[in-house]
Amino acid sequence: MQQRDFDIVIVGGGGAGLRAAIGAAEQAKAQGASQHIALLSKVYPMRSHTVAAEGGAAAVTSAEDSHQAHFDDTVSGGDWLVEQGVADYFVHHAYQELVQMERWGCPWSRKDDGQVQVRRFGGMKTARTWFAADKTGFHMLHTLFQTSLKYPEIERFDEYFVLDLAVHEGAVIGVIALQIATGELTLLRAKAVVLATGGAGRLFRFNTNAGIVTGDGMAMAYRHGVALRDMEFVQYHPTGLPGSGILITEACRGEGGILLNKDGYRYLQDYGLGPETPLGKPENKYMELGPRDKLSQAFWQEQQAGRTGKFGDSDVVYLDLRHLGEKYILERLPFICELAKSYINVDPVKEPVPIRPAVHYTMGGIETNPQCETSIAGLYAAGECASVGLHGANRLGSNSLTELLVFGRLAGEQASQRAAQTEWADERLLEAQGDRQQAKLLRLCDGTSSEENWVELKHAMVQAMESGCGIYRTEEGMRHSLDTMRQLRARFNKVRVNDTSKIFNTELLECLELECGLDIAEASCLGALERRESRGAHQRLDEGMQKRDDVNYLKHSQVFYQGDAHAELRWQDVDVRFSAPAERAYGDAGKGEKA
């Protein structure tokens, strides 16, 4: 087993991980220190899922806008489950981070006068979303990756699969990783570790996420006793392509696209989002620019009422862009045209695009304090894997790309400061934990025939998540999903990997990802079942639970891992220091109200 020493280890090469690495390097430089930073990722960094983000990144930009307005949108969008101190920090640091990206070369779309252009986004009161055509995440990720090449102190470990954290006496001391190309383990000793491993959308069958978005980092921290917070909140994006779930960005609606049911009727006006806005004149927080949870729920209602159309075997509604005209569509939404043509053979210039909701974003994650530190000393988390508390019960589109930057940088800087004051732990401690991982891999690949098939388990997991923890939930459905996860976790112990080779064993990786998925799926189901109210993305059909209940549930759920036993849930107070909970209202109903 190879062993290497680093001041800081960063797990994840997406937007959050790269920003953390650069942030740490800059922080060390500012302190006149030289720190050695390892950046590990199970795929080459530019393959990370940030690459798929289309729409944009939010920050208060225009003179008419204000930090207060961005804060209010975020807090009410999150149905008051947002940590308000965190949201306040976020809105105040968003703009400088987007400018920093610009200074690093990000090709933001521009106005004629050479200033950065902003677009409208759902749930945001004012146009404040920066974009790079409809490939914002792609351009951000490549800009960050390319910029990271300037820093020789960042050493990359591409295609290293991190298996576990090494923790000793309440502090992190390193990580254990599998080099995918060779199948060998590497121990990385560290003074601070940042987890930036992304979300967990692949827990669900129908989703907009890449295959690698399997919640590994969440499971790693969770197994070492860190709480997973607010895991019951999973965002459905209203517009995924039928079949694959590939995302059709919200920017389509920001640019003026409209949603129709099978009768060609703009049904959103029937769900508290009206009145109907004139064609080609989208208005923030009205109709198509309502928040995602409301739009996905409206789809479900239409489906129940039999007003959805069919595409293949999917129920769909339609996104109509035709009135925007070919030139505008091709300039602003070129990638959308390419995707719709390739994957469903529909040209958005000529036809309405059939769409349906798909699981998109994991609001919950590894609990951190406002400085991104977890309950394990020296362990930080940032990006979609983390729950720093920004999104509450429902994330607003375009807040998360900015989150990667604001909190990625903060986590990197914090890690750097910690590393400057900490010594490495005894290397034998790390070796012992490495041996345990080696033994586990040997057991998984011991060449005996598998009593359980991982493919079957995976399908059972995604099916149960979809049926029990979908857009609308019931006590019975969630209980069933939770029981299923518990059974599947037990069955996983009998899984063996058929492929026993060492070099590029992707079957082994899939099994390890599944094991992570099952652990956090249990946490997600448990949080959902115990939250006996409806809030943001968590909507129940059960009698007496269809409304928000601030008396009992203005609280974060925290789920704690208990090994083979059932996970445990606790409740945690929410920071509501600036804005008292109020009604979330959109369309005309939201007029005049502060948020």
């Binding site: 795929v43 080459y44 530019m46 990370s48 899922h49 690459v51 798929a52 400088q96 400018v99 920093q100 610009e102 200074r103 690093w104 070369g105 090709p107 933001w108 779309s109 521009r110 106005k111 006068d113 050479g114 200033q115 055509a133 490939k135 792609f138 490549h142 390319q146 090449l149 300037k150 591409d158 190309a181 890449a210 295959g211 690698i212 079949g243 694959s244 129709l260 099978k262 060609g264 159309g309 069919k310 595409f311 293949g312 075997d313 339609y318 995707l339 390739s342 994957y343 469903i344 053979n345 529909v346 036809e351 309405p352 059939p354 493919v455 058929n498 080779s501 070099i503 590029f504 064993n505």
Partner: protein, 260 residues
């Protein structure tokens, strides 16, 4: 709003048929020999090659290895040779193929296992051209307390935008006969990336990059076959970038000569 009923092309998921594909296997844990393996699988109009590989992995043969992630042609992971042509697996549809489909790892790269190739050299070439904004003496340095962007008009953006769309999939390297002969050749994507920054109105790093581009293994290795641009799944047109790069490199040499 009109109340006409909406109808769109319905992709028939019902009309599934069976297709036969051959995959070149290489399992270095067991043997240094490569061999072809045949699979029959159900496909419909929307089945991509990546869907087919995932079907094989989950239902037929879990030992088959290949890379993928986004399944929407943006992460650049899934390049393979399809009947001898470099393609993205997730953007190749089996509906477009009659008869035999032969899948091999990307050409010109060392094979690690099955359809997985070693991309290290590609990454080294990218890094070699200093692919980041260089502005050593900015008029206004970045200040987080008073952040200010550069100005860049849509026209200035347009000059390099297309060249910034490269997803680093490496297909153009598999299409490039020069890279096949000489892996030290920086190759289409790296040269394109250098050109992208050279064209950016905010950048002053052209001089620093030129040294690398002007080497024998830089732009001058390109014999303008142009196949790179044909296979590029994102219409980046690396051949155009390399050609414009040659003009720049020649100018750079001339200027250096005059300055003596």
């Amino acid at each position: 709003m009109s109340t006409e009923q909406i109808s769109t092309n319905v992709i028939s998921t019902q009309s599934a048929s069976t297709k036969h594909i051959s995959v070149k296997r290489y399992l270095p844990d067991n043997s240094t020999e490569t061999y072809w393996q045949e699979y029959d699988l159900p496909v419909d109009d929307s089945t991509s090659l990546l869907d087919a590989l995932n079907h094989i992995k989950e239902q037929l043969d879990s030992t088959l290895s290949y890379r993928w992630s986004c399944r929407m042609a943006i992460c650049g992971s899934c390049g393979v040779m399809v009947n001898g042509i470099p393609k993205l697996g997730c953007k190749t549809f089996l509906r477009d193929y009659e008869g035999d489909i032969r899948i091999e790892p990307l050409a010109h790269f060392p094979v690690q296992r099955d359809l997985v190739v070693d991309m290290e050299i590609f990454l080294e070439h990218l890094a070699a051209v200093k692919p980041y904004l260089i502005d050593d003496n900015p008029v206004k340095p970045y200040d987080p307390n008073a952040p200010e962007t550069y100005q860049q008009t849509p026209e200035q953006l347009e000059r390099y935008k297309q060249f910034a769309n490269c997803i680093n999939c490496g297909l153009c390297y598999s299409a490039c006969p020069q890279f096949g002969l000489n892996p030290e050749f920086l190759g289409p994507a790296a040269l394109t990336l250098a050109h992208r920054y050279n064209l950016d109105s905010r950048d002053n790093g052209k001089k620093q990059r030129m040294a690398e581009l002007n080497r024998h293994d830089g732009v001058w290795s390109c014999t303008f076959v142009g196949f790179c641009s044909k296979v590029c799944p994102k219409h980046v047109d690396p051949a155009a970038a390399v050609n414009q790069g040659k003009v720049e490199a020649a100018k750079h040499t001339l200027i250096a000569l005059f300055k003596g």
